[in-house]
């Protein structure tokens, strides 16, 4: 066997010896290089991680699970909360909503006197002001059962506040006698006619069918698409005056006054003026959405329920991923010890662990968000609420990042405290 060809020169600098490589093969590339700083050991870190397939999968799966829970649950939450004000979005056109000062959210109807409409119309800066009726009324179905519906009464002449998307018929058809428009989900499901065979699907309502509201006949002239609301009752659109005739006889029936701001008029200023003049509450569209949203946040168990689920996802994710990652480091402790004995610094070992954590974190996060998106896509035609704005992705990303930092930190502490002398232990 030949003698080892490798030769190294020794060059004492400041009392420390550095290698100056003078191997013939390598000399052309590095003759003048005195190596001081270690090269990165990234490839070693990655091979170490992938080398143990079982553990690697375990860590990634733990993080995927955490990421999925922390994305999917808040997405349903955000979707649900957005439903609380979806009617306000659907009405769209008006800039300002005027209502009783005690109203706390969109379905909290405290009717006004009809005269308020004329008072608002008289305020300067108001382009137009229209009445809106919104109320829950019982509808008698063909089989004699009753169904509570959300009845919306639009200004008779302008029909302001009507549904944005008409699937069949037109909004203007509301001007015909006894005319109502129903939403497609209601028409298909809760208002549908019972199937002739028992257990079969309801037969959807169609144009020309009729309903009975408070002993008044109503004829369907159109089918609309509306954004699902919180209560998901069927929605029935009609004119303001017809809605009044369907509603039980009461002194006050005006739910909201919808206001368009004159061009050049500051909406906030107008709101102040309306409040001062009428003593009523007035909000911009966004302001009313926020009011409604906050009401649901404060007064329902929804945020707490979701908060608990999300926190559990975080804790379980930390437990699984953190544990497996830490175990992985523990199992590789001897390898880290060997590297330490051979002169690798704590800093370079720390970078190895961080790289491993970042890699499993990114993969787990990506898979989790992907699965959540897939879930949302699969459920898009169902009643399930699901919304994944970018803020949510930042949120779950931060969550997964935190899990990885926790997992990496405990591993790093272990490796930093490691005595290289363990390498001689068998």
């Amino acid at each position: 066997m030949a003698q080892v060809q490798v030769r190294t020169q020794w060059l004492p600098i400041n009392g420390i010896v550095y290698t100056l490589d003078s191997d013939e093969n390598i000399a052309t590339q590095s003759r003048t290089t005195i190596h001081r700083e270690p090269q990165t050991m990234n490839h070693i870190a990655l091979k170490m991680l992938m080398g143990d397939k079982g553990k690697y999968l375990g860590i990634v799966m733990g993080l995927t699970f955490a990421s999925l829970i922390m994305t999917q649950q808040p997405a349903i939450f955000v979707g649900l909360m957005a439903r609380s004000y979806s009617f306000i979005s659907d009405v769209g056109l008006p800039d300002i909503w005027v209502m009783d000062s005690k109203v706390q959210f969109i379905d909290d109807i405290k009717p006004l006197q009809e005269t308020e409409l004329y008072r608002v119309r008289g305020i300067s800066g108001v382009e137009w002001a229209m009445p809106l009726y919104k109320g829950l009324l019982k509808v008698r179905l063909a089989d004699g059962t009753f169904q509570t519906c959300n009845v919306i009464g639009l200004d008779d002449t302008t029909l302001v506040g009507g549904p944005a998307v008409m699937l069949e018929g037109t909004l203007a058809d509301l001007r015909r006698s006894d005319a109502v428009i129903v939403d497609i989900d209601g028409a298909r499901d809760k208002l549908g006619k019972p199937s002739p065979e028992s257990g079969g699907k309801n037969i959807p309502l169609k144009i020309g069918d009729s309903l009975e509201l408070n002993d008044h006949r109503a004829t369907i002239v159109g089918i609309a698409k509306v954004t699902r609301t919180f209560q998901s009752q069927p929605v029935i659109y009609t004119t303001y005056s017809r809605a009044k005739s369907y509603a039980p006889r009461e002194r006050r029936l005006l739910s909201f006054v919808l206001v368009k701001v004159k061009a050049g008029q500051d909406p906030q200023e107008l709101i102040e003026r309306i409040r001062a003049t009428t003593g009523l509450a007035a909000y911009t569209q966004d302001g009313f959405k926020t009011l409604t949203y906050n009401y649901f946040m404060k007064n329902t168990g929804i945020p707490i329920n979701f908060g608990i689920t999300i926190a559990l996802g975080f804790i379980v994710g930390t437990a699984i991923a953190g544990q497996t990652f830490y175990n992985f480091t523990l199992e590789n402790l001897r390898q880290f010890g060997v590297l330490k004995a051979m002169g690798a610094s704590n800093g370079s070992l720390l970078r190895m662990i961080l790289l491993q954590a970042v890699l499993v974190g990114s993969i787990g996060y990506g898979l989790g968000v992907g699965l959540a998106a897939l879930f949302g896509f699969a459920m898009r035609h169902t009643i399930l609420a699901f919304k994944m704005p970018w803020q949510l992705l930042v949120f779950s990303g931060a969550g997964v990042g935190l899990i990885c930092i926790i997992a990496a930190l405990i591993s790093i502490l272990k490796v930093i405290r490691l005595e290289p002398a363990i390498v001689f232990k068998s």
């Binding site: 420390i16 390598i26 590095s30 060997v338 002169g343 690798a344």
Partner: protein, 235 residues
């Protein structure tokens, strides 16, 4: 012949659960450059502790230990690491190869720690693997190699950066007689050089004949140093 290792009155005590174990109780030992020194003695007498201190991966409680005229205790942490990375090669009983790296990658690790580019380091690692007779197995993972072959990879890793000290703890204990003998032949052939020192801890009487000198230890002391029929190589 110049001195490579100079140990003077080294004491090391371990404390576990409040119990004190004196592992080294005043060890004096000088080893010259070019020498192959074996440390032998009963289990628990302090052999591993002594080479750990010599190699700078363990601190003694008292006494002086100089390696090539330098004292680890007087170096900064960073200089200690640099000094180890450059000057010391390790061979272990359990090989301690990184299981997910192939032979060439394993051997290149000391070069990478010393700042050599990965591609160059791996090329050089392959050359050294050829020297230890594993030129055909550079891409094999440790698990795909026999014990003897793994120990050869470990020897290549201990040599690749041309360190001046190679410490081996029971390099043949996990091997059968023939592989153990081959590994020692190899070490003797490729590792012993006039500007280098080898310290080998062993129980294995069958390999004593490879030593230049043998230091016998008992109970934290060196009790006897015997000269072998000189195997000194004239290089």
């Amino acid at each position: 012949m110049s001195l490579a290792i100079h140990c003077q009155n080294i004491v090391k005590t371990y404390t576990t659960d409040g119990q004190q174990v004196v592992a080294l109780n005043g060890v004096d030992l000088d080893i010259a450059l070019g020498e192959l020194m074996m440390l032998v003695g009963p289990s628990g007498c302090g052999k591993t502790t002594l080479i750990s201190i010599i190699a700078g991966i363990l601190n003694q409680d008292s006494g002086r230990c100089e390696l090539f005229g330098e004292d680890f205790q007087s170096m900064s942490n960073k200089d200690q690491l640099r000094f180890r990375a450059v000057n010391i090669g390790f061979v272990f009983q359990a090989y301690n190869l990184l299981p997910s790296l192939n032979a060439a990658e394993n051997v290149s690790v000391p070069l990478i720690i010393n700042g050599m580019k990965r591609s160059v380091a791996e090329r050089k690692a392959k050359d050294v693997l050829a020297q230890v007779g594993l030129g055909e197995r550079t891409q094999s993972l440790p698990a795909q190699l026999s014990g003897g072959q793994q120990q050869r990879v470990a020897i290549a890793r201990a040599l690749v950066h041309s360190p001046r000290l190679i410490v081996c703890d029971e390099p043949t204990s996990a091997l059968d007689h023939k592989s153990g003998h081959n590994v020692m032949e190899l070490l003797k052939q490729v590792a012993v050089q006039h500007d280098r020192v080898l310290v080998i801890v062993t129980h294995d009487a069958r390999i004593f004949s490879f030593a230049d000198r043998i230091a016998e230890m008992d109970d934290g002391h060196i009790v006897k140093i015997s000269n072998q029929t000189s195997h000194h190589l004239d290089r």
